[in-house]
Each structure stands twice: as C-alpha cells, then as structure tokens.
C-alpha cells in the first residue's frame, strides 16, 4: 500500500482524467461543461499537494515492485508540483475559452489531465521504457489538443505539424535508447550511466550517437534551436490555453528529464570539458537558442509568436544552466545539477502560463492568432488583465522585483561560479541576450498601454476560472519575487537529486531480486539514505573525479 502512496501524485493525475471522462458522459449533452475544468484543476492540484506532502514528510522512495523504474524524490516532487500547477491553470483557462466552438467540449479536460499525467510519469521515470511511455502519453494527448478547434484550419495545421515532427522526435528518442541499450545492455539510467562511465565504454561511438539523438529528441520538446521550428507555428495555431500548457508543462517536463538523463548517464567530472563533451553540445545549443530566439522574437508581430520565440530563448538560458554543473554538496556523490535550473524553470513556467493565460482570455471567438494590434489598448479595456500580462512579460524579461529577475540572477550567478575563468563569457552573452529580449517584451507592454487599436480589438472573455488562474500566476510571480527564499531552498533540494545515484537496490540487483520476495515486514518502503555517508565501492571513481574537479577549481591541477 505504501508504494501506492509514494506513487500517488502521479496516479492522482490519471485518476482525475478518468473521473472527468466519466463525469463528462454522465452530465449529458446539454450541460455546460465548464465545471469539468474546475474538477480537473482540483484533481491536478490534489496531485501537486500530494507531491508536496510526500516531500515535506521526507519520503524518498524507489518502488520495489517496479525494480527501480520510478523514483519519486525531491526532484520528482518539485517538477510534479510545478507541472500540476501549470496543468491546473491551463484547464481553468479552457473553461470559458470558446463557448460555441471546438475547444469547449467535455473531451478536452480528460485529455489535459492525461497529458499532465504523462508529463509526471515522464519526470519520475528512471528507465527508458517507462520514460518513453510517459513521453508518448503526454504527446499523443497534446497532438489532439493542439488540433482540438475543429473549425480553425490553423488549429488543424498546428495539430498535424506537431504530430509529424513529434513523431520524428520520438523516433530519434527510440533510436537513442536503442543505441544505449546496445552499448550497455541496460535500460536503467543508473546502470547505463555506470557502464558508460567505465573507462572501456567511455569512448564508445554508439553512446555518442545516442547522446546526440536523445538531445535532439528532448531538444524538440524543450524547443531548443535547431529543433525548434515547430514552436512558433504550433503555439500560434493551437488554442491558446493549449499553447500555455505546451509552453509551461512540456518545457518543464522536458528539461527535468533532459537534465536528469544527461547528468546521470554522461555525468562525469569531464561533463562540460571541451566542445565535444556532452556539456559542450548543450552549450552550443544554449547559445544558438538564445540568439536565434531573441533575434527572431524582435521581428514578430504576433504576440503568441513573440512568446514562442521567448520560450526558445529561455530554453537557451536553462540549457546554459544544465551545462554549468556544480559539484555536489559535501556528503553527496559526484556532480549535481546547477540548482538555478529548477528555480529558473519555476520562474519561467509561472510567468509564461500567466502571459499565455491572459491571451487565452482574449479573442476566443475564432481569433487564436493574436496580433500585437489586437491587444492594443488592453490597459483601458481591462486594467486587471493588462496588469497581469505586464507582470508576466516583465518577469520573463527579468525585471526586479519580479520572480524572473531572481531566476536569472540565481541561474547566471551559479553558471559563473561553476567555472569563473571561462563561463563569464557565456554569462555576458546571456545577459546581452536578455537585453535584446527586453525589446519585444516591452513592445507588448507598449501596445497594451500606449496604443489604440487600429483594427478590431480582440474581445475580452469574461471568465472567473481563467481570471483566477492568471491572477494566481501573477500573484505568485510578485510574491515569490519579493520573498524568493523558500522557492530557492526547494530548488536546491530538488537539484541535489537530479543525478540519480546508485541506491543499494540498484547497485546490487541480484541481491535485491533474491531478497525481494521477503521484504522486512516493518519496513516495506525502501528509504534511501542521503545524508549519511555510505560509500559504495563502485562510487570511488566518481568521487575521485569529483575531487579532481574540486582541486582544479581551487588551484592548479596536480600533475
């Protein structure tokens, strides 16, 4: 039973989907389906709450019955909570989005819940099969959601485009996973990682091809250049609440998995040494994503496309954070994820869902393509929406005292500290990019407050559910921006578990299998000790490398 409890946050999302589906059938054809949005939101938030409770309760659990295919730790809890919040907000945005047409029918909500469930499974999986399962559950639901406005050719186009390119990306992922299996004979991250990090397999060509393919597949989900081309078209064509979901949930989940896979499988002290290292590739993608995202953002005239390019450039900043790994805290083993990454994702998701959310509350009647002109004069027509949009885009731009500023500050600082001699260049590049980005963010604010609409302005949808969702985002952006302490603490804790270390169960699978039929009756859960220093002999090479890295940081490298 307790393993079910440990898995409950993810299960709750799936159960929410089932309940909503049944409620949709029971409620009959003529009922207003808006309440399903609330049910979905409540269910997903319950899932997020469960994740927080497990975290606060200090339960850190690998499930024995899944032989380590799932690990629900602080890292998982952090992202499950974030995904739950973004998913709940998106489902609330759908409620009044388009009363007559397309998107507003009961089938939408279970799909949102299942997509969220897939994203959650995706981030807690530690095995490639389960990971792929999560990826596809999320993606298939999203393909349908993107095309869910049947009356709009743009929406159809978005759905088909996302499906075709998504299938391509999934194919690359499968190839990558297959190559890794070929190189190591395992699908479990930790075992794969251990084998690859052994000297014999280190130079394996298969593992390098697999690395690129997995980066490409996940780079597609997080919209990193050059795997980003679908992003503006799909964000623009999809119903706006779904764009919010993609920009928030999919990006967070994609990054969570990317960071964990990269660091667990290829995470040695040489992770980011040289251009051809795994970190080097991420750095290249980071820089071109930032530059391309921002430059292309400048020339857009459509708010949804601007936000799409903004999301591409944010992918660049976060990739920079993944590239700049940190040494683990004393007591932990090896390297760890730069804790600015989870925190930055938190700041980004809240602000981007807020911004897309405001757009979702405008122009539901057939206009999904929000030109800059259609938001002109929003400041007069709806001061509250204008304020929320302004807070959101200024946070994305990184203006204090909003959360986005703290996100950039913490992330860039940690990138710099990871290797002050070299990384300052990339921090300068990132800061200059934020400067360029300011242009298109401020352009949105300019149109909202200082321009009169020339053509027909997008109508404003009266929606309590949507307003509740976006104002919650804005309040969080403001409050956490002023008092970021707790959120930074949480991100730190989460980042310590980004790199899966070898638990006893996984380190000795044979022993585990033998002892599995007779678990200790009082302790059915396998609690993993993190604070204690239990050094497994197999850790010694990793520890040695970590110490070399430390030495290199503190002085000249010993010959």
């Amino acid at each position: 039973m307790s393993d079910i409890i440990a898995f409950s946050p993810v299960l709750l999302a799936a159960i929410t989907g089932l309940i909503v589906m049944v409620l949709d059938l029971l409620s009959g054809k003529n009922t207003h389906k808006g309440f399903l949005g609330w049910v979905t939101a409540v269910g997903l938030l319950a899932s997020g709450t469960a994740a927080c409770l497990l975290w606060v309760g200090g339960r850190e659990i690998s499930l024995p019955f899944m032989v380590g295919m799932v690990q629900f730790d602080t890292y998982g809890a952090f992202f499950v909570t974030l995904i739950a919040i973004a998913g709940a907000a998106s489902s609330l945005l759908i409620v009044d989005h388009n009363p007559e047409q397309g998107i507003h029918d009961g089938a939408t909500y279970p799909l949102v819940a299942f997509a969220t469930f897939g994203a959650m499974l995706f981030v807690v999986a530690t095995d490639m099969i389960l990971l792929f399962l999560g990826l596809e559950i999320m993606s298939l639901a999203l393909y349908v959601l993107a095309a869910s406005k049947q009356t709009s050719p743009f929406s159809m186009e978005a759905g088909v485009k996302y499906f075709l390119l998504g299938a391509l990306a999934s194919g690359f992922f499968l190839f990558g996973a297959a190559f890794l299996y070929g190189a190591t004979g395992s699908l479990d991250f930790v075992t794969v990682g251990r084998t690859i990090q052994d000297a014999a397999a280190h130079g394996s060509g298969l593992s390098k091809v697999a690395l690129v393919m997995i980066i490409a597949a996940l780079g597609f989900k997080i919209a990193a250049v050059p795997f980003h081309f679908w992003t503006p078209d799909v964000y623009e064509g999809s119903p706006t609440p779904i764009s919010a979901f993609m920009a928030g949930v999919v990006k967070a989940a994609g990054f969570a998995v990317l960071a964990r896979m990269m660091l667990t499988i290829w995470g040695t002290a040489e992770f980011s040494s040289g251009w051809q290292s795994p970190g080097g590739i991420l750095l290249i993608l980071a820089v071109i994503s930032m530059v391309v995202g921002n430059i292309m953002g400048i020339v857009q005239d459509n708010v949804k496309r601007i936000l799409a390019y903004s999301s591409i450039s944010h992918a660049g900043y976060i990739l920079l954070g993944v590239y700049a790994i940190g040494l683990g805290e004393p007591g932990a083993v090896g390297i760890s994820l730069n804790s600015g990454v989870p925190f930055y994702l938190l700041t980004y998701v809240l602000a981007t869902v807020g911004a897309f959310g405001v757009l979702a509350l405008m122009g539901g009647q057939g206009h999904e393509d929000m030109s800059l002109d259609s938001i002109a004069g929003l400041g007069k027509r709806s001061p509250i929406l204008a304020l929320i949009l302004t807070i959101s885009v200024l946070s994305l731009a990184g203006i204090p005292p909003l959360l986005g500023f703290m996100g950039k500050f913490v992330l860039f600082k940690q990138v710099l500290l990871a290797d002050p001699d070299r990384n300052w260049v990339w921090v300068v590049v990132a800061v200059l990019n934020s400067l360029v980005a300011l242009y298109y963010y401020l352009r949105i604010v300019l149109y909202v407050y200082f321009r009169e609409p020339e053509g027909e302005a997008a109508p404003i949808i009266k929606s309590n559910a949507g307003l509740f969702a976006v104002s919650t985002m804005a309040v969080l952006v403001l409050l956490l921006g002023v008092f970021p302490g707790k959120a930074i603490d949480a991100s730190n804790q989460a980042s310590h578990h980004a790199v899966l270390s070898i638990t006893e169960a996984q380190a000795a699978p044979a022993v585990q299998q033998e002892s599995a039929p007779t678990p200790e009756p009082k302790q059915p859960l396998r609690l993993r000790q993190v604070d204690g220093l239990k050094v497994d002999p197999s850790h010694i090479p990793i520890i040695r490398r970590a110490m070399e890295l430390k030495l290199r940081d503190s002085g000249p490298k010993p010959k």
């Binding site: 391509l168 690359f172 060509g205 590739i281 360029v436 008092f483």
Partner: protein, 655 residues
C-alpha cells in the same frame, strides 16, 4: 498577565492592521460606501492603538516580573541573507519604540477620525484613507523595525506616502510640484542614509540589526572605538538623512511647501510623526553617535541654527499653515539640538509634547480653514473666538504650550532642552565649551520668537473683528472637535510625564535602558539650581514674547508692525522671501542640473547612446531577424529536414 508570545502577536497586529486598511480602501475604492471607507480607515488604526496599549500593559507586566527586561522581539521571517549581510524581518518593542508607537497610533487614530469630517466632501475619499493608512503602516515599520534596513524601508515608505499625500490634489500643478519637491529633496538625505549603511557594513563590519550593533559598539576594543573617522562619517551621513526627513538646514526647504497637502496630513505627517523620524533615528543610535563628538557637535549646531532660522521666517508669514510649518521646522531644530548635546530623553520628550500641541494646532488651523471656506490668509481672519469656541480654546491651550507658558507641556520639554544645551558636555572634552553658550543663546532667541509668532497668529486669527465680510465661519462637526479636545488635553498635561524632579522623571526612568549606552559618554555640568533658574528665565522670555505680540497685534502698538516694515524694508523683504534660500538653491543647484541634463540628453543620450549605441545594433539585429525569418516557412518537410541535418551535424561534430 500578558505573555511574551501574546505581545509578539500584538506587534504584528499593530503593524499590519493599517496595511490591511490601506489595501482594502486602495483596491475597492468604488465598491465601498463612504461609511464603510470611514469605518475601515479609522477602525484599523484604532485597532492598532488598542493593540499598542495592550502591548504596553504586557510589557509593564514583564518588566515588573524581571526589572532587567528590555525588549520584546518578534522575527517574522529571514528576509535577506547574502554574504556578510543577514537581515531578519523583525520587529521589537522596547521603551523607546513603545513611546513612539503610542504617539503614532494614538495621535494617528485621532487624526484619522478628524479626517472623516475634514475630507467629507472630497471625491477621492477612499484614496485618501488608503494613503493615510499606508503611511501609518510605514511609520510603524520605521519605529518598530529592529534592523536599520527595516527602519529604512519604513523611512522610504513614509517618504512615498508623504509625496502621495502632499500631491493629493494632483490636478493642481503647484500641489503636484510641492509633492515632487518633497520627494526629491528627501532623496538626497536618503542617499546619505544608504551610504551610511554600506559604510557600516563594509567599512566597519557592523551589523544592521540594532541590538547586535549595540552589543558590538559596547566592546571597547572594537573597531568602532579605533576608527573614529569612519564612525564620524557614518553618523554624519545618517544625519544627512535626518536633515531631509526632519527638515533641518540645509534640506528643510520641502516642509513649508508640503503644506499643499490636506491639513490633517500636515498635522499627522508633517508635524507629529514622520518629520520626527530623524530625531528618533539619532536617539535610537545614541550609542553610535556618542562615539563621535564631532558629529554630535554638528548635529547640535545644525539643530540650534535651524531653530532660530525658521522661527525668524515664521515671524512674518501670513498663511496660517506656513506659520505652523516654519514653527515645526523650528521645533524640530530643538529636538535635533537636544539629541545633539546628548539629551536623548529630552529630545524624545519634546518630540512627544510637540506631537500633541502641534497636531492640535494644525487640526485647529484645519478647522479654521474649513470654517473660512478655504481661506488661509490670517490677515483676512479675526474674531473667530466667538464663532468657533471649541477650536478657539483648544488652539489657545496649544499656543500657550508651544510658547512655553509655565505648567503646560511645552514648558517642561523646552526647558529641559535649554538646560541641556547649556549644561551637557561630551566626556571626551573635544568640544569647545563656548559652543554650549552659542547653542543656548540661539535656543533662547528662538524661544522668544516662538512666543511672538505664535501669539501673533493667535491674535490675528481669533481676536478682534472678522476682516473678510463675505465669510460665514461656523464651528466644525464633532468628528473634528473631539480630536481637538483630546489633543489639547494632551498638550496641557503631557509635560507631567517628564517633571524635572530628580528621580521622579517618569519618562527618563522609562527610557533609561535605551539610552544607557549614550548617557555614559555625556557629563552633566549643571546643577538643579541652574535648572530651576533657567525655568525662571524661560518663563520670563515666554511672557515677554506673548506681551510683545499682544502689544503689536492687539494692544497699543498696532501701528508699529507697518512702520517696522517700512523702516526695515530690506530685512522684512528678506524674511518674507525666506532668506531667498529657494532662489539660491534654484540658481546654484537646480538650474545647472537641469541645464546639464538637457545637454546630456540632447548630445549623449539622444545622439550617442540612442543614435549609435542602441539603434545601431537594434537595426542590425532586426535586419538579421527579417532575413532569418525566411527559414521559418511553415513547411513541415523543411522543418523535418533541418531537424535531421541538425542531428547529423551534431553527430559528425562529436565523433
């Protein structure tokens, strides 16, 4: 018996109740009825006051159980942790902050009540109460904040609210400009305050937490005792902040203009509470100031000069609020003089009595202006004694109190300052004794002028015959007269908290633990005989001033002021034009600054930065973007091909 944890909860109530009021009235101004706005706007400050009284009772209980008990501290959360700086969002209640909080919430609540009548017809009623509540919140943060940084947050908050309320009627350009002037002038002082905090942390390794700082300073081997130059710099920079907030030379110029705001605002912010923040800050940091005899002497000299300087301008003003404004500047000079000579208790004592009588005077003036339908020129008033009996009697009591008529509150507090100016000396002996005589001379001169201008104001307003035939003055409603009566009672009786009898001075005994650090560095060279003798002197001075005012404006010499104006035309013009200080500042500081800014704007900003450095790269980037845009064709085959090419290139790159 109130427990310590209860007092901690009460502290949050005290501080946050006005904030809640500000938020409700600020967010729902159109939803709420006037009645609801009044109840919220007045009720929450009143809750704050009641909580303060309860906290006082609790504190007394704790102190009687343990006589060494000094302060209740409540830390809400850890606010900033960065390198050597660690700041908690912490409040504390010690004897000094209790006195200040009682003054702020007590007088503040009365003035909120008064505002219900005074602002009755204003269209922006809710905005007014929202800002006034927000002010109260900031002021309480200022006096209850345990760290200098939190004090500074309150300090900036009251500055903001002051700006918002001076320019409350912002569609009148002059009033908007007055608000701007107050804000900008205060920024100069705040800048000093900020630099002082940086020095304190980085040059002296000090803490921003006041109790920790006090503990550090108490160690005679610490850097604070060896690096006197830096301590002097820190204290003088902090004092620069105080000259802005407490309207001292050279930054006093904003306060007279600040009278553009509604009169209750002048009473609360620009007389009773906010402007005393500088005095409070110096008294709070007494242990730091006494380490630098130079700073102390500067503070005292500036205070004494301000006292007489502002009083002399007050002699010739005709706007009822301007007279009171210069009077406030002058009285603040007394308080600054007091803390400058090391009489911290006397400074706080005068702060408290002044809060009563000056708030009462301003509210009385408001009542008069209300009755005269907006007229503020005292030359056009007169004879209001019969028409407005309550306003008249309360105004008279407060005028007597400020003039120093024996047995009223101002007499005791001002007398203590005069005595301290003459008798207190820094134990280091580095300050020349003749300075004491100078300070005393300036202070007694200012006392004489105070009596004259205040009674000039009184006689011109209330006695004789009404000089404008169109006016139909009437007594104000009860919501305005009740606060007047309460404040006048305070103005009469508050002095008995600080009777100059050795050992029986309640206020001094109460504040002694706070000023223990400062008091040890100050020697009292005067005797009680001297103190009683000085009382006689100041009584004579006050009565002489009153007599002179009576003779000149009511009695036999009524033709003399006009003659004096003619024969001393130069001096008179200088005084009426306030020594041309505004003009001088305009010519020396403001105009060159604006001219320079215009040049910089035209050539450097518009030409160099915008033209070349900003628009250049922007145009280039936009060009690149437009070109690259062609790649985003919308064609799925192209996208898939680029995707695949990307993968292939990366694979080739890593192999």
């Amino acid at each position: 018996m109130i427990k310590e944890t209860t007092i901690q909860s009460l502290l949050y109530v005290i501080v946050f109740a006005p904030l809640i009021g500000a938020i409700i009235n600020g967010v729902f101004p159109r939803v709420l009825s006037r009645r609801a706005v009044s109840i919220i706007g007045v009720g929450l400050p009143a809750i704050s006051f009641v909580a303060t009284v309860l906290a006082l009772v609790g504190f007394l209980g704790l102190r009687s159980a343990d006589p060494t008990y000094t302060a209740v501290s409540a830390s809400l959360f850890s606010w900033i942790v960065s390198g050597p700086i660690s700041v908690d969002f912490a409040l504390w209640l010690d004897p000094l902050s209790i006195v200040m909080t009682l003054v702020v919430t007590g007088i503040g609540s009365l003035i909120h009540l008064y505002s219900v009548g005074y602002m009755h017809d204003d269209p922006s009623y809710a905005r007014y109460f929202s800002h006034l509540n927000l002010f109260l919140f900031s002021m309480l943060l200022l006096v209850l904040g345990r760290s200098l940084l939190l004090l500074f947050v309150g300090w900036e908050g009251v500055g903001l609210c002051s700006y918002l309320l001076i320019g409350f009627w912002f569609d009148d350009m002059d009033k908007a400009i007055a608000g701007k002037k107050a804000f900008i002038v205060n920024r100069i002082g705040d800048f000093g305050f900020l630099i002082a905090m940086f020095f304190l942390i980085f040059a002296l390794g000090g803490s921003l937490d006041i109790p920790s700082l006090r503990a550090m300073v108490a160690d005679p081997t610490s850097i604070f005792h060896s690096n006197t130059a830096m301590v002097t710099a820190v204290t003088l920079l902090l004092f620069l902040g105080a000259t802005g907030k407490s309207a001292q030379i050279p930054l006093y110029i904003w306060l007279p203009d600040a009278m553009a705001g509604p009169t209750p605002v002048s009473a609360l912010i620009h007389a009773a509470t906010m402007v005393t923040a500088g005095v409070y800050m110096i008294a709070r940091l007494n242990f730091l100031y006494v380490l630098s005899p130079v700073s102390m002497a500067v503070v005292a000299t500036v205070g004494a000069l301000t006292a007489i300087f502002a009083a002399s301008i007050g002699l010739v003003q005709n706007d009822i609020k301007k007279v009171l404004a210069y009077s406030t500047v002058s009285q603040l000079g007394y308080m600054v003089l007091a803390v400058g000579v090391g009489a911290f208790g006397a400074g706080i004592f005068h702060l408290m009595t002044h809060a009563f009588f000056k708030a009462c005077l301003f509210l009385g003036a408001g009542s008069v202006i209300h009755a005269m339908a907006g007229e503020q020129d005292i030359q056009k008033m007169g004879g209001l004694r019969k028409k407005m009996p309550i306003t008249h009697i309360t105004f008279l009591i407060s005028t007597m109190a400020i003039a120093g008529v024996p047995l009223l509150s101002g007499f005791f507090s001002k007398d203590e300052i005069l005595f301290s100016a003459l008798a207190l000396q820094h134990s280091s002996g580095t300050v020349a004794p003749w300075l004491n005589k100078l300070w005393f001379g300036l202070a007694i001169g200012a006392a004489l002028m105070t009596a004259i201008y205040m009674f000039r104001l009184y006689f011109l307003t209330f006695s004789g015959e009404l000089r404008s035939p169109d006016a139909h003055p009437h007594e104000s409603p009860a919501s305005m007269t009740i606060p007047l009566i309460v404040l006048a009672t305070g103005a009469a009786l508050a002095g008995y908290l600080g009777l100059p009898i050795p050992g029986k001075n309640l206020l001094h005994n109460w504040l002694a633990p706070v000023f223990a650090g400062g008091a040890s560095a100050i020697n009292n060279t005067g005797s009680h005989t001297l103190e009683y003798a000085l009382m006689g002197v100041s009584t004579v001075v006050a009565l002489a001033g009153i007599g002179l005012a009576w003779a000149l404006y009511r009695g036999p010499w009524q033709h003399v002021p006009a003659k004096l104006q003619e024969s001393l035309a130069g001096l008179y013009k200088t005084l009426v034009n306030k020594y041309y200080v505004d003009e001088a500042y305009n010519a020396v500081v403001v105009k060159p600054l604006i001219g320079g800014s215009k040049l910089l704007h035209r050539w450097v900003d518009a030409g160099l930065i915008d033209g070349i450095a900003v628009n250049g790269p922007a145009k280039a980037l936009a060009y690149v973007g437009r070109t690259a845009r062609r790649l985003a064709t919308g064609d799925v085959q192209t996208y898939a091909a680029i995707f695949a090419i990307g993968v292939v290139l990366l694979v080739l790159f890593v192999m």
